[in-house]
């Protein structure tokens, strides 16, 4: 269990470095669209370069949902140092959803008398509240929501059911299906925050291969009033879509809320 502990700490460290400066986290399947039943292997890692594996991510937060809404267990799951990976036997026609989310994570920061450095801790909100020393000042709690997704389709695309929990930052499949993207067609994805359209959200579109060029060639696009972003693909290839929000919360004990969302897609030549 030391291993799990280690990776959760890593995840916390990646998140703690603030939503806007965290590593990119991504799920990368070997195949996005299939014409015959096949096992698909998925990498799960955090990195700065796209798609260059760097830090293996914890597999406990990964769920795979089949076309009929069934939970699919991860096969051959391996949590490595640089990458985690697992297999999905894709044998039912339709669209599979891979998601790494999990419950929100909580962080606290505070100042202790006589200590120059700000103190940090993470855990459940209850644990954190109980653990803050009585002498602490400037106690600030933060909540972090994170969702990392990818989709795989065997045969014709289907639209996966909306997750029951609409909290956090989520992408809704509406105009474009993430497994039917072509470089000669623009794509539209709709974003929602806690079930409401996420208008004015910046969505960064990052093409594969950033390690091998000077300019990462990221596109920064903004969602419209309906929370929809329209993407004109620079060309065929694999892309990471990233969106993040940081909110100062007025209510209760939480000073800040962070939301981050990542989606890996494949865009084909016409």
């Amino acid at each position: 269990m030391i291993h799990v502990h280690h990776t959760l700490l890593l995840l916390a460290a990646l998140l703690l470095s603030s939503a806007s400066h965290a590593h990119k986290r991504w799920l990368l399947p070997t195949d996005f669209a299939l014409s015959d039943a096949e096992t698909v292997t998925v990498d799960f890692t955090a990195s700065n370069n796209i798609f260059y594996v760097d830090k293996g991510m914890p597999l406990e937060i990964v769920t795979v949902t089949g076309p009929q809404g069934e939970d699919i267990p991860l096969a051959n799951a391996t949590q490595g140092d640089r990458r985690s990976s697992f297999d999905i036997p894709v044998d039912v026609p339709g669209t599979y959803r891979i998601a790494a989310g999990g419950p929100p994570m909580y962080f606290v920061s505070y100042q202790l008398p006589g200590q120059a450095e700000l103190q940090h801790a993470r855990g459940s909100l209850q644990q954190l509240k109980a653990g803050v020393p009585a002498a602490a000042t400037e106690v600030k709690f933060a909540e972090s929501h994170s969702l990392i997704e990818s989709y795989i389709t065997l045969g014709a695309q289907t639209t996966p059911a909306r997750p029951e929990d609409s909290s956090g930052l989520q992408m809704r499949i509406s105009q474009s299906h993430p497994n039917a993207l072509y470089s000669d067609e623009e794509a539209q994805f709709r974003f929602e925050l806690d079930g409401e359209p996420a208008a004015g959200l910046t969505v960064t579109v990052q093409p594969d291969g950033s390690r091998y060029r000077d300019d990462p060639l990221e596109l920064g696009l903004v969602t419209d009033d309906d929370g929809t972003v329209t993407i004109e693909w620079p060309g065929p290839g694999r892309y990471l879509l990233e969106a993040g929000l940081e909110q100062t919360a007025g209510d209760g004990d939480i000073a800040r809320r962070y939301y981050s969302y990542f989606l890996t897609v494949e865009v084909l030549a016409p």
């Binding site: 669209a33 299939l34 015959d36 096949e38 695309q157 039917a180 072509y182």
Partner: protein, 167 residues
């Protein structure tokens, strides 16, 4: 008839003529194409799809689907995208095994509403390349002959439309 040299700059129009007025939607359509000999260490016969799309790029008629393993069907990218992924195979009189290099001909008498259509011939070869030839045409027409030259995975592609022979 809107087939002109300016609207079809990439096509070689070998012959194009309208013989009769009062065209009906019934005609014979023939596609001749060449699978070229390719001198390579590892040769596999290409997967071939021949189909017709309407003005909205919907597949309205399948003429030939020469395929093997389902795993590679998606590599006929255009065909797969525009309808192949939703199709139950095999199709009677259309599906078949892959063929060796040579000249082939497929025919059909499709019943299509009048309008603008595109003939599509797509070929993809394992450890090889892919080529997709599109020939726009108007339907119905009494007589039409369009030839286009492929450059890699396809040789010459000829579309011939003739009025249905009625005694």
């Amino acid at each position: 008839m809107k087939l002109t040299l300016t609207t079809l700059p990439r096509l070689t129009i070998a012959a194009l003529s309208l013989l009769l007025c009062g065209a009906t939607a019934a005609a014979d359509l023939t596609v001749e194409f060449t699978i070229p000999e390719i001198d390579t260490a590892e040769y596999h016969r290409p997967y071939i799809a021949v189909w017709i799309e309407d003005g909205q790029r919907r597949q309205v008629s399948q003429l030939a689907l020469w395929l093997e393993q389902e795993k590679w069907h998606r590599d006929l990218r255009s065909w797969w995208r525009r309808g192949g992924s939703k199709m139950a195979l095999p199709l009677d009189g259309v599906s078949g095994a892959t063929r060796k290099p040579g000249n082939y001909s497929v025919s059909s008498s499709p019943s299509l509403p009048a309008g603008a259509y595109t003939l599509n011939v797509e070929a993809v070869r394992e450890v090889g390349g892919r080529e997709h030839i599109k020939i726009p045409f108007d339907w119905p027409t009494d007589r039409l002959l369009i030839v286009e030259q492929g450059s890699s995975e396809l040789g010459e592609v000829t579309l011939t439309i003739t009025a249905e022979s009625t005694p």
